[in-house]
């Protein structure tokens, strides 16, 4: 990646890139994963320099989804018919795992970034201290997670869907999965209705 591209990215994240160049850069971002990583790095640097807290990375969400699928025991199989050929479908165990976790994985993977430590701007990031007066939000527990999901579903059902509600739901599903994976390590798996799952 040459200096011209780096300067373009820098201008882009600062909102100073002319429209036609921004258009071109976005198209390249759609094709180029390395470029997206680099933009993410610059965004992270910007956040750090502004003193914003960076959340701990979400490690390999997709793999956790897959691991959960591998490890979960199941009690029953049901048949569904749909657009795809009839398949043997198993209910996922756990409180809130849903298909949306996979889409969350799409949006969540970039949260853990391989920031280039040789970049001076990144080196400066280490010197940014967290404001001690900052109130650390509490983690999303299972009850709160259910509230977020119910909020999104109910708003949609009542015709009150907001512009960004889909992403909220997806993000929550990711959290649900993480919690479920942790539960799996420490306690017997349970179904959504609270009944134990037979191994």
């Amino acid at each position: 990646m040459n200096d011209a591209i780096r300067m373009q990215i820098s201008a882009f994240v600062d909102g100073e890139l002319p429209d036609n160049e921004a258009d071109l850069l976005l198209r390249r971002m759609g094709q180029d994963a390395e470029l997206r990583h680099k933009v993410a790095e610059y965004l992270a640097i910007g956040r750090a320099l502004r003193g914003e807290i960076s959340l701990p990375g979400v490690d390999r969400i997709h793999e956790r989804v897959a691991a959960a699928i591998d490890d979960k025991p199941f009690t029953e199989e049901i048949e569904i018919s749909g657009t795809a050929p009839t398949k043997s479908i198993r209910p996922l165990a756990g409180a809130a795992i849903a298909a949306t976790v996979a889409l969350v994985a799409i949006f969540g993977l970039q949260q853990t970034m391989n920031v280039d430590a040789t970049d001076p701007a990144v080196a400066n990031q280490a010197a940014v201290e967290i404001d001690s007066s900052y109130t650390v939000p509490r983690p999303i527990d299972d009850q709160l997670r259910q509230y977020y999901l119910s909020h999104g579903a109910t708003a949609t059902e009542n015709g009150a869907n907001g512009i960004n509600s889909r992403f909220v739901t997806l993000r929550l599903s990711e959290e649900a999965f993480e919690q479920s994976a942790e539960d799996e390590d420490t306690s017997p798996a349970v179904e959504a209705d609270g009944l134990p799952v037979q191994p």
């Binding site: 036609n20 258009d23 976005l26 971002m29 759609g30 994963a33 997206r36 990583h37 993410a40 965004l43 956040r47 960076s54 897959a66 749909g82 657009t83 795809a84 398949k87 479908i89 209910p91 996922l92 409180a95 809130a96 849903a98 298909a99 949306t100 889409l103 994985a105 799409i106 949006f107 993977l109 970039q110 949260q111 109130t135 939000p137 509490r138 983690p139 999303i140 527990d141 009850q143 709160l144 259910q146 509230y147 977020y148 119910s150 909020h151 109910t154 708003a155 949609t156 059902e157 009542n158 015709g159 009150a160 869907n161 512009i163 960004n164 889909r166 909220v168 959504a192 209705d193 609270g194």
Partner: protein, 323 residues
């Protein structure tokens, strides 16, 4: 008046009427709220194919999307560009989420109209007087001419939006969620897009044969029942009104929780009221652009959740009272 003069006058009146009608139509399109109506219709009816970039905080992600609407039925394919090969295949309300490297498919029901763009609230409840909606300028996004709409809240109890709408179709090519400092909290934009082109069935088919994959379905939805409630918010930010009230059983629990949904016509806040139990946590939390705040009110645990700033959910949660 001669016949010729009468005919000329009639033609003149006809031409004037036509011009007035055209002017009225153009005037409608200059109305920002009419553009929002067009957007709502376009999101539900437009077929498209393109690449979406989402930028939030320090994340920058890309998705390939094919979206087809035929007779109101949505078919869609979303493919992650982040290397894991995840695919979402939607046919109507049935969604198959394919994880190729694990040879697994998750099945889910979605009942809304779009994967990537929610529609706006229905016109019956859309917008009170808490926002200004204006067309800021013309712009270009993904090589197409757009109108930039700004939705500005009058106070810091709600977020603002910037939406770039395709001039020809009203389709949103870029959206930004704006915080009270004017900065973008989240941006979703098309890097490239083809609108209303013929989409071949093969473009919507899975890229993988799922013949030997394991298939899984999601857990059941919550149980709900409509109720009246004695709970009110004594210090509700201006403009929020009750949209729905019901009781709801959360998965894994037998106890009903009262759920009140408020809307200011654009932003929504849910309030959940439960009996105090062990482990009922308190304080703020956030997910993406949504915030929540939990507080103890008497012997109840009250939580407000919504796509609004933290100050809004805190004020609502702490001012809920049973009459």
């Amino acid at each position: 008046m001669s016949f010729l003069h009468r005919q000329t006058l009639s033609e003149f009146v006809l031409v004037c009427s036509s011009l007035l009608m055209v002017s009225a139509a153009l005037a409608d399109y200059d109305e920002p709220r009419e553009w929002l109506n067009r957007m709502g219709a376009a999101v539900q009816s437009t077929s498209y194919e393109g690449t979406v970039i989402r930028i939030r905080g320090s994340e920058a992600e890309a998705l390939k999307v094919v979206h087809q609407v035929v007779d109101g039925v949505i078919r869609e394919k979303v493919v992650s560009q982040e290397g894991n090969g995840l695919e979402i295949i939607r046919n109507g309300s049935e969604v198959h989420c394919i994880l190729p490297d694990r040879k697994s498919v998750l099945v889910e029901e979605w009942d809304d109209q779009s994967t990537l763009f929610s529609t706006l609230p229905s016109s019956e409840i859309r917008f009170g007087n808490e926002y200004d909606v204006s067309i800021v300028r013309e712009d270009r996004v993904a090589g197409r001419q757009t109108k930039l709409l700004a939705i500005r809240p009058h106070d810091s109890y709600r977020y603002g939006y910037r939406i770039w709408l395709d001039t020809a179709t009203g389709f949103p090519l870029q959206t930004e969620l704006i915080g009270d400092d004017g900065s973008a909290i989240e941006q979703v934009m098309f890097a490239e897009i083809s609108l209303n082109k013929d989409i071949h069935a093969s473009a919507l088919a899975p890229s993988y044969s799922t013949e030997n994959y394991q298939w899984f379905n999601q857990s059941a939805r919550h149980v709900t029942r409509s109720v009246d409630t004695d709970w009110v918010c004594e210090d509700m930010p201006r403009g929020f009104k009750v949209i729905a009230t019901h009781e709801e059983k959360m998965p894994g629990s037998e106890a009903f929780v009262t759920h009140i949904l408020y809307s200011d016509g654009l932003a929504n806040v849910s309030v959940f009221i439960a009996q105090m139990g062990e482990g009922s946590s308190q304080g703020p939390s956030s997910v993406s652009g949504s915030n929540s705040f939990s507080a103890v009110v008497g012997d109840h645990h009250v939580t407000a959740v919504g796509e609004v700033p933290a100050i809004t959910v805190e004020q609502i949660a702490t001012s809920m009272r049973a009459r």
